[in-house]
């Protein structure tokens, strides 16, 4: 066998096949990004944005409020009535890590499993085949709008999470140790740096791409049997979470 790709594939076995196919999916998805100009793809994008972005706001709000509250209470217990240190810890943990990570976990739990189940059901019912016979690329019509929607939603929801969590933290600190809220806001703008904002943005973009492509891969890989639909959903959630943590680790090491 002369083909080096095939030799490599044989060497790595099943794992190699999955890696090769997932790489092909990534390449083909990015190559099809311009298909978003097509009307049906734009329409699918808007549907996904509504489902992943707008309908997640409630869950993200609850999670952000509780995160801000818990963080401030725990840090206050540790450092006492030190308003500046409390705020510093809040910014570091929320903007750098918890904001992007918790938002991604909500999206994985809510949207990634739904995407994997939907695509797996379409595969089992022969709808993917129908699309292909109509000359419509499943990657362009199904994967591209989901990837764009989850990436945009991830960025917007991460920003929203950070604002709500930090605002809650400030309000609780102000109430708890009796300091001025306006002063805390001033301190916040002095403490937060560009690097933190860029890191949060970069993480949310990477997470968005990961948590859309993983369920698309598992959903579209299903062959034939109905019983594979829940398996695809479960694999996509676990795969999505693992990928996000791996990506988070890598970005943290590279940036900070």
């Amino acid at each position: 066998m002369n083909n080096p790709v095939m030799r490599l594939q044989n060497f790595f076995g099943e794992w190699g096949l999955s890696l090769r196919n997932s790489m092909a999916l990534v390449v083909h998805t990015f190559a099809s990004l311009l298909d978003v100009r097509r009307w049906p793809v734009r329409r699918a994008l808007l549907k996904q944005l509504y489902f992943t972005g707008i309908q997640s706001v409630q869950s993200i709000t609850v999670m952000a409020v509780l995160t801000g509250l818990i963080m401030v209470m725990q840090v206050s217990n540790l450092v006492g009535r030190n308003e500046l240190l409390t705020l510093q810890v809040l910014i570091w943990s929320v903007v750098r890590e918890l904001g992007p990570l918790l938002t991604a976990i909500v999206i994985v739990g809510r949207s990634s499993s739904a995407i994997a189940s939907e695509l797996a059901a379409m595969q089992v019912n022969g709808e993917i085949k129908s699309l292909q016979r109509m000359g419509i690329s499943p990657i362009s019509y199904l994967v591209v709008p989901r990837m764009l929607a989850l990436t945009v939603a991830s960025m917007a929801l991460t920003f929203y999470f950070n604002v709500i969590a930090i605002a809650t933290g400030m309000i609780v600190t102000a109430w708890n140790i009796d300091v001025s809220l306006a002063g805390e806001v001033d301190h916040f703008f002095e403490m937060v740096s560009h690097i933190e904002i860029i890191a949060a943005l970069l993480k949310s973009i990477c997470f968005g791409v990961m948590m859309s492509l993983v369920p698309c891969y598992y959903g579209l890989s299903v062959k034939g049997a109905m019983t594979q639909i829940p398996i695809a959903a479960s694999r996509s959630v676990m795969g999505g979470i693992m990928t996000i943590f791996a990506c988070d680790g890598l970005l943290t090491v590279l940036i900070f």
């Binding site: 095939m6 090769r20 196919n21 092909a24 999916l25 083909h28 190559a31 099809s32 097509r38 009307w39 049906p40 793809v41 939907e118 059901a121 379409m122 019912n125 022969g126 709808e127 993917i128 085949k129 129908s130 699309l131 292909q132 016979r133 109509m134 000359g135 419509i136 690329s137 499943p138 990657i139 019509y141 579209l220």
Partner: protein, 232 residues
């Protein structure tokens, strides 16, 4: 008559025998195959979803008003033979896109789209048409295919799971016809389990479509009473 569509020594994985025939503009022909798997394989080749294992499928390029004798060769086969990545992850070939349309046996609807969205999906996707442009054309074809005018609005808004089988088939047929392709590839099981008057209307609609300069290939896997000549 101008040749529109040519199968040259096409051999599928399922069958050992090679298939060669030519369809001319205005022709309707039935291709009878012994097995369902082979029928599916040949439909895949015919609409360009898969490349032939052996042989070529050619479509004469041109529009329905003046067909030019320019042959578009099937270029996908080399790509598939050399590259074992599943077709799903690969870009679709351009050869038969928009020029060969497929009519499924059971409609081939996408379950999360309404009937209207299903009918215009390939039209929007391939021809970049806005929905308003397609509306009149779809309405005309639905009338020709036997959908009564008063049922039109309700039918269009319905989800695929909420309509009857013959309506799914009708939507699938309308979806292919509104594309005005050069070649219409029809799964013969489309004519199963539908009332005789509806079947006759659809047969008449396909004949009127072919008379406009297209060709129709009906692929079956069993003997059926259809009024068109068989490909021997």
């Amino acid at each position: 008559m101008n040749p529109v569509y040519r199968f040259a020594s096409v051999r599928s994985k399922v069958s050992g025998s090679a298939l060669s025939f030519t369809l001319h503009a205005g022709e309707l022909r039935v291709l009878h195959l012994p097995e369902k798997d082979e029928k599916n394989a040949i439909i895949d080749y015919a609409v360009g979803e898969k490349a032939c294992m052996e042989g070529t499928v050619e479509i004469v390029q041109g529009d329905r008003r003046g067909i030019k004798a320019v042959v578009a060769r099937d270029t996908e086969e080399r790509r598939v033979k050399d590259d074992p990545i599943p077709l799903l992850w690969q870009p679709l070939g351009n050869n038969r896109k928009r020029r060969a349309a497929w009519v499924a046996a059971n409609g081939g609807m996408i379950s999360n789209l309404r009937i209207w969205e299903n009918i215009v999906l390939p039209l929007w996707y391939h021809l970049w048409r806005e929905p308003e442009e397609a509306e009149q054309k779809v309405a005309q074809w639905l009338e020709v295919l036997g959908l009564e005018a008063h049922a039109h609005a309700k039918f269009m808004e319905a989800q695929p799971y909420s309509v009857e089988l013959w309506q799914l088939k009708l939507a699938g047929l309308a979806r292919a016809l509104v594309l005005s392709p050069l070649v219409l590839v029809v799964d013969a099981a489309l004519f199963d389990n539908i009332r005789e008057p509806i079947k006759n209307r659809w047969i008449a609609a396909l004949e009127s479509y072919a008379s406009g300069g297209g060709a129709v290939l009906v692929v079956s896997d069993r003997e059926m009473s259809l009024p068109w000549k068989k490909i021997e």
